[in-house]
Symmetry: C2
Subunit: 232 residues, 2 copies
DNA sequence: TTTGTTAGTTGCGTTTGCGCAAACTGAATC
DNA sequence: GATTCAGTTTGCGCAAACGCAACTAACAAA
């Protein structure tokens, strides 16, 4: 196994302020994993043997119901930890994780979680904060799902994605990983058809440019108006 | 101020296995609060000066959007802690808490949170587990909101409430606090009209008995079929 | 007892968004 | 270059659920 360099993690939130020795110690227990685009990294209710830190790529966190209908709970971006079942007092994963593109992660055995938490209070604090933030965001999304119209929800999701993972280009802000109409629909609780219709309409107005699994946000403020219910 | 008796909390999950001295110490720092039905205990984004343990009653956790539309995020039952902003790495409350009936709580100043966590690992574990469970449940509800029909969602909510807070009576299982059609609609992302229509239909079939802010579940298995999409 | 208030019911028309189906497009593969 | 396939677009009809409005029922306060 290769020696991993502490520069990989040194500047990430969970590790700031840690001694070099500690970082080396933590890294020594990690293994690097490559996940090909489309691969399932872990599944819901599976035994949580590892917890992960995403170094590069994008991961889709997905919940599936009995009928096979699914919803994208969130996207994980580089620098974020995931699969941290222990942080939520579980020993199984609460959802499925799928690589949205080719990904690179560090993985630690879950059995060393307690040690790490104990020895690195900063890491602990950060983990619980992450969980807290996710709970808060999920509640916000639920409120939106319950009160906002499809149009607003779709506009909102595009704005959020552009904000989080957007790359400036000549045309506008490009969402930096392949994302389909189906994906958007699974984030907003609607159908790909409805998403397609909405996006076509916005494209006609010049607010977005989009193609196959590609979305470029051109006039963010216009979508903002849609998201905040400009109808009234 | 009255001396509080450790029997109040001794048997609750966060405190099991704690020494009597520790319990007394913790209790000595708590104050008892009475919250009249309908009172707002705290509001979203308000500074989290206290965290609470509900001794008696039921609390509604509510999120409100810009248009004043609201959604009930969850109900807190006796024995549960709430307002534990620190456990999710915040210093403001993430939602509003309203007493659904007259309530009795213990309150601790948030500034002693870190001490308690440090000195009582069991309390810490339990808190994080609580947060984790709430995250999981919220995600499940979001999935349901996104994929299930109104009818199923309403059926599900009634079943859950009956399960969690149900009291056996001659007629069936009574949901043990006043709950209106409006409340149900705010838990399921629909309107009180639709809830009323559904409940009337179920009442006609004899599956539930309901009145003013009262719901009795008569034939749970029938509602179960509705909840799990018996349509197909 | 009367009056006011809050909760619940129900009919009717409307709208949003779904479901189905068919066609189209661009990228990858052979 | 032909073929295949996944992703996308779009038309059309329909149903679920909403919104409005009017009315009724239960409870509380005067």
């Amino acid at each position: 196994m290769n020696r991993l360099d502490i520069s990989l993690i040194r500047d990430l939130p969970p590790f700031v302020g840690m001694e070099v020795v500690d970082l080396q110690n933590i890294l020594a227990q990690a293994t690097a994993h490559r996940h090909e685009k489309g691969t399932t990294i872990f599944s819901e209710s599976e035994k949580a043997n590892y917890f992960y830190l995403l170094l590069d790529g994008h991961i889709r966190v997905v919940k599936i119901n009995q009928n096979g209908e699914q919803m994208i709970a969130r996207y994980i971006s580089a620098g974020e930890s995931y699969g941290i079942a222990k942080a939520i007092g579980r020993d199984t994963y609460p959802a499925n994780a799928v690589a949205a593109v080719d990904c690179l992660s560090l993985a630690w055995p879950t059995k060393i979680w307690d040690d790490i938490i104990l020895q690195h209070p900063n890491f602990a604090t950060n983990s619980y904060q992450t969980v807290g933030k996710r709970l808060f965001e999920t509640q916000e999304r639920m409120l939106e799902l319950a009160t906002a119209k499809v149009e607003q929800r779709v506009a909102n999701v595009i704005l959020k994605l552009a904000n989080q993972t957007g790359k400036k280009t000549e045309e506008g802000i490009l969402i930096d990983f392949p994302i389909s109409r189906q994906d958007i629909s699974e984030m907003t609780g609607t159908t790909l058809h409805t998403v397609s219709r909405l996006m076509s309409a916005w494209e006609d107005k010049g607010w977005v440019k989009s193609g196959r699994q590609k979305i470029v946000l051109v006039e963010g403020h216009k979508l903002m108006l849609v998201a905040t219910n400009a109808a009234d």
